[in-house]
């Protein structure tokens, strides 16, 4: 059983501060949906609004088509996995998992059975009597998931649950989460500031900044067709070149930047005279000159060899930094520090977007 979640112009204010500004969104039932954004962007506020800990100042939250106004967190068909997991330290693992049943007044034998079932699912069979403090980070993670699943929610909300784990385990848990989601088939709403997590696990992603949803789409769309300057700079690496559109048609725009005129696609239909930022991803550059309006001249500042790829950090006009990433297969000679290098890109891989806030580095 899963249910969709609908946000209808949800605004949340704390005093004068607007944490979420008119968020409108339709999350489908059974979807793995992520909110991606830097800390303080309002993604956690949205999660807490869906789970019922916050009341929206304006707008409505609907779960499975039903308006949730006035329904407390304990009455909603959602379960939340907290950032710090919030396991109950004074209860055993099994008691933690079946707490949701205990408050419903379900008898001990049934609870015990359910606990055994879920313990098997999370590979902690026979460890129900342990204390939470005796578990490893990953085990705690899984107990938190089992505890949430135990109440058979229609929507599972996850608030950066992997942030406390180390890198290897985090990657391992990503797969596990995705597997669990497919198995139980309910809606997952996942909050993260880690784009890797969002891109690998989600069906769709909402990128947020300053309380505003910037773009909603699948991983590929968010990466390849960022809707705003913020998304372009936040998701994946990107080189921004700010300037003014000097020439434009529906498909391409020529932007006057400090490197001269650069060409890129024009999905927003920017017109001549508009302020714009032209984005070129590091992997879109090649270390050779091309056509004049796609070529930049620069000096190599440093080179970082990373095994499967090499990052070249260059300095262009006005001390502007440019990053170029070259794959292993490329036959290109990697220039050395201090060398001057001309770099160029395919105009179809340059993207002109209206000027806007960039993600902070």
């Amino acid at each position: 059983m899963s249910a969709g979640v609908e946000l209808d112009h949800v605004t949340v204010r704390f005093g004068d501060f607007t944490a979420v500004d008119s968020a409108t969104l339709d999350i489908r039932g059974g979807e793995f949906f992520s909110f991606l954004g830097p800390s303080g962007c309002g993604k956690t506020t949205i999660l807490r609004t869906v789970s019922g800990f916050l009341n929206p100042s304006e707008g409505a939250v609907r779960i499975g088509g039903k308006d949730m106004a006035g329904i407390g967190p304990n009455k909603r068909p959602t379960a939340l996995i907290f950032q710090n997991l919030a396991l109950f330290p004074l209860m055993s693992v099994a008691e933690n998992i079946t707490y949701g049943l205990r408050v419903q007044g379900i008898d001990k034998a049934t609870r015990q059975k359910k606990a055994d079932e879920l313990l098997a699912l999370i590979a902690l069979k026979g460890q129900g009597n342990k204390l939470v403090s005796e578990l490893s980070g990953g085990q705690k993670q899984r107990v938190a998931i089992a505890r949430a699943l135990c109440v058979q929610p229609k929507v599972l909300l996850l608030d950066e649950p992997l942030s406390a784990l180390d890198l290897k385990l985090r990657q391992h848990m990503r797969n596990e989460l995705r597997t669990i989601q497919r198995m139980v088939g309910i809606t997952f709403i996942y909050i993260t500031h880690d784009q890797g997590e969002a891109l690998t696990m989600s069906d769709r992603i909402a990128v947020m900044s300053d309380g505003v949803i910037q773009q909603v789409g699948d991983g590929k769309a968010v990466y390849d067709e960022p809707a705003t300057a913020f998304v372009a700079s936040f998701v994946g690496e990107n080189n921004p070149f700010a300037g003014t559109v000097v020439q434009a048609d529906p498909s391409f725009a020529l932007v006057e930047t400090q490197f001269g005129r650069l060409l890129g696609r024009n999905p927003h239909g920017l017109e001549q005279g508009a302020r714009a930022i032209l984005f070129v991803r590091p992997e879109s550059f090649q270390l050779a000159a091309g056509a004049a309006e796609t070529t930049l001249s620069s000096t190599v500042k440093s080179v970082a060899f990373e095994g499967n790829m090499t990052h070249v950090f260059l300095e262009g006009a006005g001390k502007k930094d440019i990053t170029v990433t070259v794959g292993r297969h490329a036959a290109t000679r990697i220039p050395e520090q201090g060398e001057t290098a001309a770099i160029s890109y395919d105009p179809a891989l340059g993207l002109a977007l209206p000027e806007g806030k960039l993600a902070r580095e």
Binding site: F14, G15, F53, L54, N55, P56, S57, G72
Partner: protein, 335 residues
């Protein structure tokens, strides 16, 4: 008229509650906190009511109303029970005046003397206790190992499980003219006749200091303990002499703890009953003993109430003054 003054006292707390309730409501609305839940939503109806009843009983019937009644009582004349509430039971300042002026017209030297002596002696004992406790608190907080500190802690607490009266009694055994100290002094030949420690109030000062050592040491210890050791090291590296380190680094940092310890010790000394009763000299009159006598020997409750109120006001005023001088808030002091 006199009945109504007591009735008024009964109404005051409800006014205070109304103000408190309005304040709480307005602030809750003003805060614009989207997580806000109403009080009964947050606690459930039954628990919510139980909490309020408990707190209301405590704050109203055990704190606010008794204080108010005491104050009201102090503005009444001393009358035998049948005349209470009668035409002679009018509001009067007579009880307060009697601290200064005797019925015969002279100055009430005895009571004023007791008052001043109590306050001054309490201040002196507070200072003495600070001097005794500071080094140990510092040692425990900064220099001692965890194991040692726990032992010292235990050593500090255990004697305090023996109550005040018995501790006073033990000091009396030591300081009496036939006591161990006089025995020892005479044995070494330092004195021929026993020294009257109790008569010249040495017993009183020692008793007060002894009774409230712990009250001073724990706030000091807590305050100094959280001070970063590196700060002291840094000061030492800069070549500061030890007394400068304490004066410039430790004491300013521990100010809230010092204020807390001093406040509590002063209050307890000024309000102490046991030590002056059992260790004070025969000619020494502590202000609480005066109050005690009004209640138990003279059966003059209004006067006892008036003196109590004066003592309370004086103590609070002094503490406030001290907090002002130290520049600490009351909230920091009581934790």
């Amino acid at each position: 008229m006199p009945v109504s003054s007591r009735l008024v006292a009964l109404i005051v707390p409800f006014v205070v509650i109304a103000i408190f309730w309005l304040m709480a409501r307005r602030e809750a609305q003003r805060s614009q906190d989207p997580t806000r839940k109403s009080y009964f939503e947050r606690n459930g109806t039954t628990l919510g009511i139980v909490f309020i009843l408990l707190v209301a009983f405590w704050t109203l019937f055990l704190v606010v109303l008794p204080y108010l009644y005491m104050v009201v009582e102090s503005f009444h004349p001393t009358l035998p029970p049948p005349k209470r509430g009668g035409p002679e039971d009018v509001l009067t300042l007579a009880q307060y005046k009697s601290l200064v002026v005797l019925p015969t017209g002279g100055t009430n030297v005895t009571h004023m003397g007791a008052f001043v002596f109590s306050i001054v002696a309490s201040i002196a004992v507070t200072a003495l206790n600070f001097a005794i406790c500071y080094p140990l608190a510092y040692y425990m907080a900064q220099a001692g190992s965890a194991q040692k500190v726990r032992l010292v802690m235990l050593g500090l607490i255990v004697p305090y499980w023996v109550n005040e009266i018995l501790r006073a009694f033990s000091l009396r055994l030591l300081l009496a003219s036939k006591g161990l100290i006089n025995q020892a002094l005479m044995a070494i030949g330092l004195t021929d006749a026993p020294i009257d420690f109790l008569g010249n109030n040495v017993g009183l000062y020692v008793g007060l200091s002894y009774a409230y050592l712990l009250i001073m040491i724990f706030p000091l210890y807590n305050a100094i303990e959280s001070l970063d050791k590196n700060q002291i090291e840094a000061a030492r590296d800069l070549g500061a002499p030890w007394w400068r380190i304490h004066w410039d680094v430790v004491i300013p940092y521990a100010k809230p703890g010092i204020a807390s310890g001093c406040t509590m010790v002063f209050m307890l000394c000024a309000g102490s009953l046991a030590a002056p009763l059992f260790l004070g000299g025969p000619r020494t009159l502590w202000f609480t003993s005066v109050i005690y006598n009004f209640f138990f020997q003279a059966f003059n409750w209004p006067r006892g109430a008036a003196y109590s109120f004066i003592l309370l006001i004086a103590c609070i005023a002094l503490v406030m003054l001290m907090l002002r001088l130290f520049k600490v808030s009351l909230g920091e002091t009581i934790k």
